[in-house]
């Protein structure tokens, strides 16, 4: 294998690894609720603005 072909292979594997990492991170069960929360909240965005104890942005 030429260094060029190796470089291509390495780069491809690197991208595949990053891709797999992102999937593993976001599809882990412990992050499920937090990651999926916005899809439910967006359905209620016609409601009056929440009060200060609600879901206001922290910080």
């Amino acid at each position: 294998m030429t260094p060029r072909a190796l470089a291509y292979l390495f780069f491809t594997l690197l991208l595949a690894g990053v891709f797999a990492g992102i999937i593993a991170y976001y599809f882990s069960r412990k992050r499920y609720e937090r990651v999926e929360a916005p899809k439910h909240r967006m359905l209620a965005d016609d409601d009056p603005l929440p009060d200060s104890t609600g879901s206001r942005r922290e910080g």
Binding site: Y26, R31, V35
Partner: protein, 328 residues
């Protein structure tokens, strides 16, 4: 690091997006800007003359690139139809590039030198008069507008063609002298499409024709593709279809599609020579006529062998023979 917080920090998110889009941009677009393979220079490819450059700007203004490509792909049929495939160095002086994306009309990368100027003058004025099935728009107004040369020197400087304002003025004067001279080979057709007041000036059409004649010319010159080199078909001396009415009929169809535009209905002559005669300009033997059609002749006759093949060239010759007879 908690990657969930990315969706809670819009500025960080925007920065992350820029980084992510930058990777592909760097590799496929930015780094190649500096590679030798994307900016090859060849001494064989000359910058445009001042008039050709102005013609190119008219080509851009009229949006010709929306229907015509200027890049021949390395495919056998494409090379047969248009000529040698495009090389990167051919575009070295092109700002912008004009490769196009759609062939509503044919590719133009090799159109330079294919036809005489007169062909273009007549075609631009009325394409349907030459090819009745063509859907090319007529551009009669180009011959009615004087070429604006007020910015020419400045343009040449910005484009870095390597010659100065004095040279621009000299080129413009020399070009004007050439196209307005009575001895200009396409003088007759030019005077037909150009209004009287502009006969002595450079028109936009003059510049456009000059530009079209430049396309692919440097490459052809470098490769020395001489028209009419007889050696390739020295064996073709006798028409296998001589006297065959079927071949003559097929020849007539070939003639209508490929020859009529220049040589006139029934070969009575246009800006191409009269064919319904026994006194042919480049000789009247079977071998001569085959060589003329197959390989082209100086002065604007294109080579039809790559497109038609031997068989149909002979059929066209058979039809020319019939025209000779009918005319007698």
């Amino acid at each position: 690091m908690n990657f969930n917080s990315l969706y809670e920090k819009p500025v960080l998110f925007a920065i992350a997006s820029v980084v992510v889009i930058s990777v592909g941009t760097l590799v496929t677009t930015f780094i190649p800007l500096f590679l030798p393979s994307t900016q090859p220079i060849s001494p064989l490819v000359k910058p445009y003359t001042a008039v050709e450059m102005e013609g190119r700007d008219i080509y851009i203004r009229e949006g010709c690139n929306n229907c015509h490509t200027q890049t021949v792909r390395p495919l056998r049929t494409e090379v047969a139809r248009y000529g040698d495939y495009s090389k990167p160095e051919e575009s070295a002086w092109d700002r912008p590039f004009l490769w196009g994306s759609r062939r509503t009309g044919p590719d133009l990368a090799r159109v330079g030198g294919k036809y005489p100027d007169a062909w273009h003058y007549r075609h631009m004025a009325n394409p349907q008069a030459m090819f009745d099935k063509s859907n090319m728009p007529a551009y009669p107004w180009l011959a009615k507008a004087k070429l604006d040369t007020s910015l020419t020197a400045r343009k040449v400087k910005v484009l870095g063609y390597g010659y100065d304002g004095a040279e621009v003025a000299r080129q413009l004067a020399a070009f004007r002298e050439t196209v307005t001279a009575p001895a200009y080979p396409s003088a007759q057709v030019r005077s037909q499409v150009t209004p009287a007041a502009l006969q002595g000036e450079i028109t936009e059409l003059d510049a456009m024709v000059a530009y079209l004649q430049k396309l692919g010319r440097d490459l052809k010159a470098a490769q020395g593709t001489a028209a009419g080199s007889a050696t390739a078909w020295a064996a073709e001396t006798k028409n296998p279809y001589a006297g065959s009415p079927e071949a003559e009929e097929e020849g007539e169809k070939i003639f209508k599609e490929n020859c009529r535009g220049c040589h006139g209905e029934k070969g009575t002559g246009g800006f191409g020579p009269k064919l319904a005669t026994t006194a042919h300009k480049f000789g009247g033997s079977d071998a001569d006529l085959f060589a003329s059609v197959a390989g082209g002749r100086p002065g604007g006759m294109p080579a039809f062998l790559p497109q038609l093949g031997k068989d149909r060239v002979w059929k066209a010759v058979a039809y020319i023979r019939r025209l000779e007879k009918e005319n007698r």
